[in-house]
């Protein structure tokens, strides 16, 4: 019984709970959510693939895509995955200072990516590609817009986490909270890996 009490005290220190699987339910839930997100983005990517050649008016994909610019954006998002994993690593070492530093850098890199996307959308609109110009335009803006919203939500989550860690107000296991935000962030990155290849690099 004493062992049980000690184990429970130890658990409450780190926010872990006894589960039937021995695994964190939070983490299970997050992976299930990410699995379902594959279906969301799969639908959006498939719709784009189907409609990218349907251009009755307005510019064609290869007429407006700026591959060097998008390549830099992709590189920025890829590097944000590195800074995110370094934040998770620092959180597991209980190094709050470096956790916050890497989380902030990740958020800044994410903001750079979103800024690039806003610039890209503005440039495309000026070149005559509106949301309703063609099926290509509609499916392109829907797909990349949904991804941009996901990145923006990720930035909000990162900044909220930085604020909560600074005030020591993270409920439960701090390292696990950072890891959950990290999983979401990496997912956003892998979705972009697919979008960058299928949308930008493969011509219509």
């Amino acid at each position: 019984m004493a062992d049980t009490a000690i184990a429970h005290d130890h658990d409450s220190d780190h926010g872990a709970h006894v589960t039937s699987t021995g695994l964190s339910n939070t983490k299970l839930g997050m992976w299930m959510f990410l699995g379902s997100e594959c279906l969301l983005f799969g639908g959006l990517i498939s719709t784009y693939m189907l409609y990218k050649g349907r251009v009755n008016s307005g510019p064609q994909p290869d007429q407006i895509f700026d591959i060097p610019f998008t390549s830099v954006s992709s590189f920025v998002l890829l590097m944000s995955s590195l800074t995110m994993v370094l934040a998770v690593s620092a959180a597991q070492r209980k190094d709050d200072r470096n956790t916050n530093l890497w989380l902030t850098i990740t958020a800044l890199l994410g903001a750079t990516f979103v800024g690039g996307q806003v610039y890209e959308f503005t440039a495309f609109y000026r070149e005559g590609l509106g949301f309703t110009t063609s099926l290509f335009g509609s499916s392109f803006y829907t797909l990349t817009g949904f991804h941009g919203v996901h990145v923006s939500v990720g930035i909000i989550m990162l900044m909220a986490l930085v604020g909560m860690i600074s005030r020591n107000r993270v409920p439960g296991n701090k390292a696990e909270s950072v890891e959950m935000v990290g999983l979401y962030w990496h997912f956003v990155d892998i979705v972009w890996i697919v979008i960058f290849t299928l949308v930008y690099l493969i011509p219509s």
Partner: protein
């Protein structure tokens, strides 16, 4: 008493799982990121260099490798419990099956061929 012991063991296992520093070291993460950056550079080079019939296979292989590396190492699936892998990859495989099937009904692949 044995139940209490089992309970304690499970709790300790759960605690260890969340507390442990699983995955690669920071240096290894940096090396992995550099590899990913190099793969991205090769991807981008397909826009400038004519890869001929290898163009599409090269892009698909690079995309898949980058995807798997990020999921396995940065998302720790390689080091975590297999149940997480089953959850994620079942969603991914379901999505691939459903949408490849859906695109086939629109004769998408025949048009490309």
């Amino acid at each position: 008493m044995s139940t209490a012991t089992d309970h304690s063991a499970t709790a300790e296992h759960s605690s260890e799982h969340t507390e442990e520093h699983h995955g690669a070291s920071d240096k290894q993460y940096i090396v992995i990121a550099l590899i990913l950056a190099a793969l991205t550079a090769i991807e981008v080079s397909t826009y400038y260099v004519d890869f001929g019939p290898l163009f599409m296979p090269t892009l698909f292989v690079l995309m898949t490798v980058k995807f798997v590396v990020v999921v396995s190492y940065f998302m720790h699936l390689k080091f975590d419990n297999k149940l997480f892998s089953y959850l994620f990859y079942s969603g991914l495989i379901l999505a691939l099956t459903v949408y490849i099937g859906a695109l086939s009904t629109f004769k998408f692949f025949l048009q490309k061929g």
